[in-house]
């Protein structure tokens, strides 16, 4: 994103030449991606295009066969603890322990990130997610939507600079979805960079600064978002060959 003096802000996340296969299946064939402060890159594409694999590579949860990921200039390779620290990740799974309460789950995350007063930080995060009343419940006792809210609260707990989201609006009701959009917009304005993988473009279109379409392991397009979603959809369908 260009800054006020016209210069581009430094890259928060930089991926170069990412390749990854599973068995004989080449899922990613040399993908580049740069995310700067205030940018929200929405990644779309058909099933099996490699979106989730890309997100896992960007999070350092998977090793690329070729290519490199850098977060705030630091490589994610190996024991790159400091490179992982600025990343927040929302997966299609909750990443929460079923045998701990929500408060215990988030306090554990706070401890891993070295946050002061983990129990208080966890309670505060649950309160802002509208989950204060369920803080002492285990995830297995919650609905899918409430679990998703807790998963998002967990991902945002340590104030990440880079947020990687895989279908973040799944199971959220209209109110919770709107609250999430507002929270993400606020963080974008504060300089967070974000990659959102989704099939439901309508839910993130307003937040997106760039739209990228992954097809057969390569970018079919990566461009600034322009105009309403309705004007992009025919082009999207053409890009993915639907």
């Amino acid at each position: 994103m260009p800054s006020s003096d016209g210069a581009e802000s430094p890259a928060l996340l930089e991926a170069r030449g990412l390749r990854r296969s599973f068995g004989g299946l080449r899922v990613l064939r040399g993908v580049d991606l740069t995310v700067r402060a205030g940018e929200a890159v929405v990644v779309a594409g058909p099933n099996g295009a490699g979106k989730t694999t890309l997100l896992r590579l960007l999070a350092g949860l998977m090793r690329p066969e070729a290519g490199e990921v850098r977060v705030l200039g630091r490589p994610l390779r190996g024991d790159g603890e400091e490179a992982r620290r600025p990343i927040g990740f929302v997966s299609h799974q909750s990443l929460l322990y079923d045998d701990l309460t929500l408060a215990q789950n988030l306090a554990f995350t706070a401890r891993l990130y070295g946050l002061p007063r983990p129990a208080d930080v966890a309670r505060a995060a649950l309160e802002s997610a509208g989950l204060a009343a369920r803080a002492d419940d285990a995830p297995r006792r919650l609905s899918r939507g409430l679990i998703q809210r807790a998963a998002i609260a967990r991902a945002l707990l340590h104030q990440p600079r880079v947020l990687l989201l895989d279908e973040p609006f799944t199971a959220l009701d209209a109110t919770a979805a709107e609250r999430l959009r507002e929270a993400l917009a606020g963080r974008l304005a504060a300089g967070l960079g974000m990659v959102v993988v989704t099939h439901r473009l309508g839910e993130v279109w307003g937040l997106a600064t760039r739209v990228a379409v992954l097809s057969e392991g390569r970018w079919a397009c990566d461009e600034p978002r322009r105009g309403p979603l309705e004007t992009f959809l025919p082009r999207y369908l053409g890009l993915v060959g639907a």
């Binding site: 896992r56 999070a59 350092g60 949860l61 998977m62 090793r63 190996g78 024991d79 603890e81 400091e82 992982r84 620290r85 990343i87 990740f89 997966s91 799974q93 909750s94 990443l95 929460l96 322990y97 079923d98 045998d99 701990l100 215990q104 554990f108 995350t109 401890r111 891993l112 990130y113 070295g114 285990a138 995830p139 967990r154």
Partner: protein, 226 residues
Amino acid sequence: MPEALRLALAIAAKDVRAELRSRTALLSAVVFAALVLVVFNFARDPTAIAAVDLAPSVLWVTFALAAMVALNRAFTVERENGALDALLLAPVPRGAVFLGKLLANLAFVGTVEAVTLPLFVLFFNVDLGHALPGILGVTALATIGFVAVGTIFSAMAVRTRFAELLLPVLLLPFMVPPLIGAVQVTSRLLADRPLSEMLGWLRLLALYDVVFVTLCTMVFASVVDE
């Protein structure tokens, strides 16, 4: 306190807290150990072989099998809801993650052994009196080694479809050296033999611990990173 140790303790405390809430692995392992002792007790012929001669083998087979049940849960708890991803994503050195899981597993297996030992005394009517401190020592020494190996194999097996079957297949061969050493030392302790007769085995157990704790800590990153 060093940062890596603080993080390892946080991970171990999380595992203990989760287990205290569910009590599934600990309870299963203790019940399993009790059942093994009952079976051995009724299967042996007390007129053919003295309890004190059979006791060390029975004790260590029971410890080993019960430990396997406890170790199976080490990473299955991380598999649920993809929680392992959150652990690997956090700014925690992989070595500290391994150390945390190892400490938690030592706590579980140690608890199972602490419950099993009195049951063993009850069933086999063995007087541990003078040998008890030595048996506690050799139990700690042997347990550290095979739990370290069990922790790494548990991390390996959890990504497979047959984790519960794979863990014993991988782990049992690696358990042989510490089990032989522990049985030999326990026999000598129960027979009130001098320390000099056990030193060789104790050195083997200590060496096994040093080698495998170091090796497992070093290779853990390549085991958990996809």
